[in-house]
């Protein structure tokens, strides 16, 4: 595993300078504007997240940061460099995990890592050393000589992540790193990402998963329809845009129609979703009693901590999977 992070050239390194600074970034595809004026900063050593539903513009943003997609307008600076003129230097210091795995199908697992290291001008011996370490790191050591296509989706994902680490990047971009992984593999990956962060790697990731953002991100922005709708630490966002607890109840279909007005006397924020009703409260158990006192029969109920999902619902009026 990369234990040291590449030291960076002195002229761009100041302890406080942001690793990524974006001001009023827009991205137009034909007549359609996918990113509509987004500004953010990523600080050295932090884990920064883009959270948002399908089509929000997360991948478009990530591609702009990875310096392969020019912004239509706005200014971006990565390591203090301009991606329009210094794309190659920027990419040399960055690791990228794209949303869809684009592994080299004509090569074996190990060769995928070896050649990727060579693209970064590493010596063959160094490539072999790093490839071996990284395959162990993502638990694919025993598949080194296998072709890529028979690997399972989760294995491919892990290989793509290993590949992005070949160059010991200072900045790692992960576009939905855990999509398609089973829960156990997800937790293993979170742990790996955590270790990278401890080593000083700056992480930028996108996700639709609130728990992932909550687990990994120091700061995040919620993106919706190409714009940032909220910004802060996970805890901060929950504090500002949700309550401590959420009561989820399921009621009979016949009751759903009038439930919103029936619950209004409780004076709590209420969301009626197709399959359940959410009540935002600082004391879920008490609220459940109150609901029952109103004479409403619940089929099932659950009190949980509120999460970023609730924040998103609050901010956009939609659940993440709409």
């Amino acid at each position: 595993m990369p234990e040291t992070v590449l030291t960076q050239p002195a002229e761009t390194a100041t302890a406080t300078a942001p690793v990524v600074a974006a001001v009023d970034i827009r991205k137009q595809f034909g007549a359609f504007e996918a990113v509509r004026g987004v500004s953010f900063e990523v600080r050295r050593g932090e884990c920064f997240g883009f959270l948002g539903p399908n089509g929000a513009g997360k991948s478009s943003l990530m591609r702009m940061v990875s310096s392969v997609s020019p912004a239509t307008s706005g200014t971006m600076s990565i390591f203090g460099l301009d991606p329009r003129t210094s794309g190659s230097q920027i990419r040399a210091r960055m690791g990228v995990v794209p949303q869809t795995d684009n592994l080299d199908q004509e090569l074996t697992v190990e060769e995928n890592l070896l050649i990727y290291g060579r693209y970064f001008d590493l010596s063959r011996a160094e490539c072999r050393r790093r490839a071996k370490d990284l395959l162990d790191f993502v638990q694919l050591g025993d598949r080194a000589q296998s072709r890529v296509e028979p690997l399972s989706g989760g294995m491919k994902r892990r290989l793509t992540i290993a590949r992005s680490l070949m160059s010991k990047p200072e900045l790692l971009l992960l576009d939905e790193p855990t999509t398609g992984l089973d829960p156990q593999a997800r937790h293993v990956l979170w742990d790996r990402l955590y270790r990278l962060k401890e080593q000083g790697v700056t992480l930028v990731l996108t996700t639709h998963y609130m728990d992932e953002a909550e687990q990994l991100c120091d700061r995040l922005v919620v993106v919706d329809r190409g714009q940032i709708v909220a910004e802060g630490s996970p805890a901060q966002l929950i504090r500002e845009h949700a309550t401590r607890e959420v009561l989820e109840i399921r009621v009979a279909a016949s009751v759903v129609a009038g439930i919103e007005s029936a619950l209004s006397s409780l004076g709590l924020r209420t969301e009626v979703l197709p399959d359940r009703v959410l009540l935002y409260s600082n004391n879920g158990e008490q609220t459940l009693k109150d609901v029952h006192e109103l004479g409403i029969t619940t089929l099932s109920s659950l009190v949980r901590r509120s999460s970023l999902e609730d924040v998103f619902l609050r901010l956009t009026g939609r659940t993440l999977n709409d």
Partner: protein, 266 residues
């Protein structure tokens, strides 16, 4: 990326080194299937044997610039030039299209320090290496079958490389405009007439007042070059052929790397 020679000039060593990484990748891939490359060695042998046995006996000598030449010796260099064209076209169209659209190889490569120009250079370099193996085989057969009459023939190797460069650059440029596999049907529509009408089977003089049309074909310049070297009739006017192929190469490469940038860096 590269908006002028002056701007790229200082980066040339770095760019060249970086583009060799794609050659390295191709070697990794073909290491397992080297038989494909070896089998290519037999093709020229069959070609040359067939014209020597067939044409050579049927058709006597042809007159080229006042001297009589054995017909098989006249056609063989033209076949060598055409083979260099076909190999380059195949490598730079179908193969590149697959990597560009289906395998998304270049999307991966562009997340590294390599840029579109390095991709174009690297893939063209690989096409040239394959071409080199093939034209060496051709040369060996030419000499072994006694179908050449001059030591100048050794220079057919760099001449074939130049033909390869011109056609693979141009082929790659065209490939970036292809929308799907159907569009590849147009390629033989361009290469077949070139093969038939580039003074391949009869001298330029037999085209009469249409000779200028033949001179528009880049392959004609390749054929003329290789034929002169093989027959040992070297003269200064050959520089013109070299220039034509060089210009086609440079234009093709510029278009290819620009188009790759627009396709991949959206």
């Amino acid at each position: 990326m590269s908006t002028g020679l002056l701007r790229i000039a200082p980066h040339i060593p770095l760019r060249v080194r970086r583009s060799t990484r794609l050659v390295e990748r191709s070697i990794m891939v073909y290491r397992r299937t080297w038989m494909i490359i070896v089998s290519g060695f037999f093709e020229p042998l069959f070609y040359l044997l067939s014209i020597r046995i067939g044409f050579g006996a049927l058709i006597g000598d042809v007159e080229v610039d006042g001297t009589l030449v054995d017909y098989a010796q006249f056609v063989a260099p033209a076949l060598m030039a055409s083979a260099a064209m076909n190999g380059a076209v195949y490598d730079s169209t179908m193969n590149i299209f697959h990597k560009l659209r289906n395998a998304k190889l270049y999307d991966t490569v562009l997340s590294t320090p390599l840029g579109p120009t390095e991709v174009a250079l690297g893939e063209i370099a690989w096409a040239l290496i394959r071409g080199l193996i093939y034209s060496t085989a051709f040369l060996v057969c030419l000499v072994a079958l006694g179908m050449t009459s001059s030591w100048w023939v050794v220079l057919t190797i760099p001449a074939c490389a130049l033909i390869g460069l011109a056609f693979s650059s141009f082929g790659m440029a065209i490939t970036t405009y292809m929308r799907g596999w159907n569009d590849f049907e147009f390629i033989p529509a361009a290469t077949l007439p070139m093969f038939l009408f580039s003074a391949t089977f009869y001298p330029l003089s037999s085209y009469g007042s249409y000779a200028w049309v033949v001179e528009l074909s880049p392959l004609y310049h390749g054929v003329a070059l290789i034929r002169a070297l093989s027959l040992g009739e070297v003269e200064w006017s050959m520089v013109g052929h070299v220039v034509v192929l060089g210009v086609v190469s440079v234009i093709g490469m510029r278009i290819a790397s620009r188009r790759l940038a627009t396709l991949l860096m959206t």
